[in-house]
Amino acid sequence: MGELWSRILQNYPYVFALALFAIGIYTILTHSNLFKKVIGINIMEGSTYILFIAAGNIRGGVAPILDMGDPELVYVHPLPQALMLTGIVVSVSVTALSLALIMKLYRFYGTVDAKEIMKIRSEVRANAGRNQ
């Protein structure tokens, strides 16, 4: 048990990232308010940034710009940082797209609550069935 705890403590950024990921997914799946779902997505994607940046980091490392004068320098891994820049762009686009969709949904249904939208839809369907 003690060994397990020390390993978890050693890798705390990963554990933190996974916990945050779970919180994000929980938010998306359990909240019926569409805006809260978008917030959940941002939490979830934020957790992956932490995972990647922690994976590429070296304590005491500097930004990976080659300095020929100082051979002793330790550089952090640039690849995860590049990937995460892309990830941030993606998450901003997804957020923008989902906010645009929420706006449209609000115009169509007059609410931003997933449960109420479901209710309105099923009423519409029931009315359509009665008219046939």
């Binding site: 569409l34 779902k37 690849l79 990937l83 997804v94 969709l101 449209k104 169509f108 839809r121």
Partner: protein, 502 residues
């Protein structure tokens, strides 16, 4: 072909499609709308011929890699051109071209306005470019980017029709697809932590040397990929978004999403599992058994759900869930025949399902009826459309001489080679269920008198040509599978790391 073009053809296909995508709105402003549409179809046809050229090159001279920008592998992004890429490029080009040709006839009316239609063309080409990119990439970074481009483009394509149901379906799709992306990114993160690389060839080297030190971590990482790509490619218990999204979009979007978009993620999954992690590690982990079981569940459950639908497009959407099961079953079998069957089914299902969705769109547009129970006698009014629908149905069921038979036969051989007799029963049962949910449409259309003789005519000639083209593709693959089957076998051999059998 001039040297500079043929040498860089792999990256040029994607770049050409991306740049065509972005000039579409501009082109519709300065030229007639049909000029832009024609240009887009022309570029897709060009991409298809490029894919055919690459596939021929790969078949004759073997697989090769391409360093983007001239930067070699660990620093630059590497494209790996093998039989998998060749086959997928051909699939995408062969199916996307007729779909866009079909869409071009009354796109403006379908999506509402001219500017919306221009953006639809942009999204369509972006999706095709991303799928081509998924086919040729050899790098996890690139896979992530292409997956995201494909996801956002396909979500927006569902919302192209500006109505409440489609927008709601899009939102649901976007939420679940983003959860999927999150899992994929987490999986990539784990592979990066384990191996320190994002290039798949380097990951494979690293893992085969030392995976025994951390089997649990690898196992967790693979299950992240399975869930992530499973959500995006509508693997059975994770398929909930698909029926709404695919049935509420306009016909060309449904055809595109159901036939190609989900296949891109399956190709990505295959690359991660068999190229990055490697066949001998994958087949030693229980993950292949899980894939087999999920595939069998999907075949049966998808078909049963499809049987219960009366709306034609919803029935076809659930049929996709069932057919994706075949593809995953082949991946799970993990032997040469099973994987050949997977690749053949990716091609055959892409052609078949797009044909069925286009024909369904034509029927719904001309008659205004979307329910199967109302479609009595449609076959007398639209003989060509229902004729190609019959071709698609027979191929979906797996009748000999149609492309569905070739893929299902390979899957059957694969199950027998594994000694998995339950899979054999499920494969045959799935075909019977496909007959049960598709043939009633034909019976209704051809063997019942029309209720009232309203003047219903066929759709425009261009749309008929697009559908007939797909029908010919299906019959050609079914009757003369030769070269395509050889390509699929080589793709399967590449995944398993076997010597290529030529």
């Amino acid at each position: 072909m001039p040297g500079a073009i043929s040498e860089n053809l792999a990256v040029l296909i994607v770049v050409a499609l991306l740049s065509t995508a972005y000039i579409m709105p501009l082109l519709t402003k300065i030229r007639k709308f049909h000029v832009a549409e024609f240009f887009a179809v022309f570029m897709l046809a060009l991409a298809l011929s490029g894919g055919v050229y690459l596939a021929r090159e790969i078949l004759h001279n073997g697989a090769f890699t391409y360093a983007v920008g001239g930067w070699p592998a660990p620093w630059g992004i590497e494209l790996s051109l093998d039989a998998i890429s060749g086959l997928f490029l051909i699939t995408v080009g062969l199916v996307a071209t007729p779909i866009l040709l079909y869409a071009s006839v009354d796109l403006v009316k379908d999506v509402g306005s001219r500017s919306r239609a221009a953006w639809f063309l942009t999204l369509f080409l972006l999706l095709v470019a991303a799928l081509c990119g998924l086919g040729i990439t050899g790098d996890l970074f690139n896979i992530y980017v292409m997956v995201e481009v494909a996801t956002i483009a396909s979500c927006a394509i569902v919302a192209a029709r500006n109505d409440a149901v489609a927008v709601e379906a899009t939102f649901k799709y976007l939420m679940l697809a983003t959860i999927g992306s999150g899992f994929v990114l987490l999986g990539i993160g784990f592979l990066f932590v384990l191996t320190g690389n994002l290039n798949m060839a380097f990951i494979a080297q690293e893992l085969s040397a030392s995976w025994q030190n951390y089997p649990t971590a690898l196992w967790v990482c693979l299950s992240f990929f399975l869930v992530g790509f499973g959500v995006k490619s509508a693997l059975f218990p994770l398929h909930v978004w698909l029926p709404d999204a695919h049935s509420s979009a306009i016909a060309p979007s449904s055809a595109m999403l159901s036939s190609l978009a989900i296949k891109g993620y399956i190709i990505a999954l295959l690359k991660v599992f068999y190229v990055a992690v490697g066949a001998d590690i994958i087949t030693r982990l229980p993950i292949t058994n899980i894939l087999t079981v999920l595939g069998m569940l999907a075949i049966i459950a998808g078909a049963l759900f499809a049987l219960a639908q009366d709306e034609l497009k919803r029935r076809l959407a659930f049929s996709t869930v069932s057919q994706v099961g075949y593809i995953f079953l082949g991946i799970g079998l993990g032997n040469i025949q099973g994987l050949t069957g997977t690749f053949m089914h990716i091609l055959s299902h892409a052609a078949t399902k797009s044909l069925l969705f286009l024909a369904a769109g034509a029927i719904i547009k001309q008659t205004g009826k979307s329910r199967i129970s109302e479609m009595a006698g449609v076959g007398f009014e639209m003989p060509v459309t229902l004729g190609v629908f019959a071709v698609g149905s027979l191929s979906m069921i797996g009748i000999p001489l149609f492309s569905g038979f070739v893929s299902k036969w390979q899957l059957l051989l694969g199950s027998l080679a594994r000694g998995n007799y339950l899979a054999v029963i499920v494969l045959v049962g799935g075909s019977l269920l496909a007959a049960a949910y598709l043939l009633p449409v034909l019976r209704k259309a051809f063997f019942e008198r029309p209720t009232q003789s309203a003047a219903v005519t066929e759709v425009a000639y261009v749309q008929l040509v697009a559908m007939l083209f797909l029908a010919v593709v299906i019959i050609m693959i079914g009757t003369f599978p030769g070269v395509v089957l050889q390509l699929a076998e080589q793709a399967a051999a590449t995944l398993l790391g076997l010597e290529v059998l030529l």
